[in-house]
Amino acid sequence: MNQATRWTNVLQDQRAVLLSLAAVVGALVLGLLLVAAIGVPMGDAVAAFADGAWGSPYALAASINRSLVFTLVGLGFVLANRANLTNVGGEGQIAIGAIAATAVCLHPGVAGLPVGLGFVLPMLAACVCGGLWGALIGLLKVKVGTNEVISSLMLSFIGVWLLYGSVQSEALLRQPMTSSSTLPESLEIPDPTKLPLLTGDAGMPLHWGLPLGIVLAVLVAVVLHRTVFGLRLKAVGLNALAARKAGIAIAPAIVGVFFAAGALGGLAGSMMLQGEQYSLKAGFSSGYGFDGLVVGLLARGSVIGVVAGALLFGFIRSGGINMEMTANVPSSLVLVIQGVIIVALAGSARWMDKKGAAR
């Protein structure tokens, strides 16, 4: 790469960052205008938003935990996207991971395991099950040529309803019925299976998922940019036919990358269970998988982009929830803001990708 192209690249990257910022700021301004249109004093809404997003140690930790989930799903999206594949299955992978983690956490004996195996084992189970669920997308793609967008979407719906079903039936994960008011949800998982808190203080529930998430983000960046597997994925994505001619086994790469994406989604599900909610219930995820997908979409292949987007969305979501609770602003406002960001970035992709087109 000569000096001139390197400079063009830097300029292009800056343009992409500026465009993304403009889209986010524009969407937030639109959100404020909508708040005004609803008739809520803007100051109240902004204060409620800030309060819910970072106003207390608890709020801050909750936002970061949320961002962590989006990061994991977004990383899975970016991995698959390197091979030009679109994984829309995060929501289902979260559900499957959470089901697996709950089953293992509640299994007698697991809580008594030594050296932290009590919380590690459920996470591993979530990774494997989420991974297999994800690998299904890849298998369908390479065996029958099913479009991965449709299959991963359908698997998302199926996973979400599997979770719903598993907490409805006592034969599965529903807590034993003790009275008519027993809710259709699982028992709370035993303490040793919960993720240990970093601060040791329930007032700021940052858990061990955070360092793990950082390690995984670095790992994914290394895999993408510094390993043969990453190069293979790129080759498959750029030109599958040429990659095959060059001797790259395309099918295992596709199934493998979907396994990895599914494992990350499954892990996200186990973190939501073991780090935050502690019991499985209907509506467990409330669209986190789709938020993570959007984060992946916005990141344009960059791991740093995933982390930045996940933080943005984690804080926006937390703030949005609090706006609904204390300032009477429907949290669907957050969906409008997200939708505008996605549409704006998708529409401006051509100007960000001039670099790719010229190459």
């Binding site: 479009n147 299959s151 199926i158 719903y164 979409l297 969906l335 998708a346 529409g347």
Partner: protein, 302 residues
């Protein structure tokens, strides 16, 4: 089916299968045309939801479901034009734009619904009455249960037939096919590929909006937040399963409709199947269908 009770039961099942298939069918027919012309619309879900919402609001404010339908169709135009502008003029990633529009519409309709109707959900809206078609509804056992439907059902079936005929036998159909498969040839012939594709996307929007209106002012006479809940995606799955052929697509929609109808039918028969399995069934069938479970070659879409 000699037992009159089971006959009546089967008739009710057939009737609700048809009723539940209609919104899917409308969305799928629009999607088929758009995909033939070379644009994948992941935003069918959002377009249906727009129709369902605007149709309901229109019906409430005008007091007339027919005007509601008209308003539902008009309201989808900006959404469809946005989709067309993004995917045709700006050549943006079609999956991304579709999902973005769906999220945007879900947020906007939920927000607007709460603003207009307050917190109380499920407010009754003026809806279409059922129509008793002459002769058909007089068929013993089946007639009334199957054919007494909102007239939109018959409009949908007529539209599907019309689209099948247009795609197959007319110059317009040829132009749509060519815009997808031979865009350069279309340009040389003096037609604008862009115009053909814009038209196809707007057509998808109109049909999807009618499908959405069928949900809100045709079927249950109310609007609930996110009431399409995946119907648009099932419609796309039906197109893929149908291998871009109208007949098979119609079968797929009926199959998904039947799977949904089981939710109401099995409990009535006293058969205990977990609710979650029944709700999941259409998606499971769609997955098996696009996964080529029943044979037939499935083309790669993107």
């Amino acid at each position: 089916m000699s037992d009159p009770a089971s006959g009546a039961m089967a008739a009710v099942f057939a009737g609700s299968t048809l009723r539940l298939a209609v919104p899917l069918l409308l969305g799928a027919t629009g999607e088929l045309v758009s995909e033939r012309a070379g644009v994948l619309n992941m935003s069918v879900e959002g377009m249906m939801l727009t129709g369902a919402f605007a149709g309901a609001v229109g019906a409430v404010y005008t007091g007339s479901p027919a005007l509601g339908l008209l308003i539902g169709v008009l309201a989808v135009l900006p959404v469809a034009l946005l989709q067309a502008f993004l995917s045709i003029t700006l050549r943006a990633n079609q999956v991304v734009t579709g999902i973005g529009i769906n999220i945007l519409v879900l947020g906007a309709t939920t927000l607007a619904y709460r603003e207009i109707f307050g917190g109380r959900s499920r407010a009754e809206v003026p809806g279409f009455d059922k129509w008793h078609p002459p002769l058909l509804s007089q068929i013993p056992v089946f007639g009334d249960a199957v054919f007494t439907q909102v007239w939109l059902v018959y409009l949908a079936l007529a539209l599907v037939a019309l689209v099948a005929w247009t795609m197959r036998y007319t110059a317009l159909g040829l132009a749509l096919h060519s815009a997808g498969s031979e865009p350069k040839a279309v340009d040389k012939s003096g037609l604008s590929v862009t115009a053909v594709r814009y038209g196809a996307v707007v057509f998808t929007g109109v049909l999807s909006a009618i499908g959405g209106c069928f949900l809100s002012i045709g079927d249950i006479h109310t609007f609930t937040e996110g009431m399409t809940s995946g119907a648009g995606y099932l419609a796309i799955a039906a197109v893929i399963f149908g291998n871009w052929k109208v007949g098979r697509m119609l079968l797929a929609c009926l199959l998904f409709g039947a799977a949904t109808a089981l939710q109401f039918q099995l409990p009535a028969l006293g058969i205990q199947v977990p609710n979650a399995i029944l709700i999941m069934l259409p998606y499971l069938l769609a997955l098996l269908a696009v996964g080529g479970w029943w044979g037939g070659r499935v083309r790669r879409l993107i």
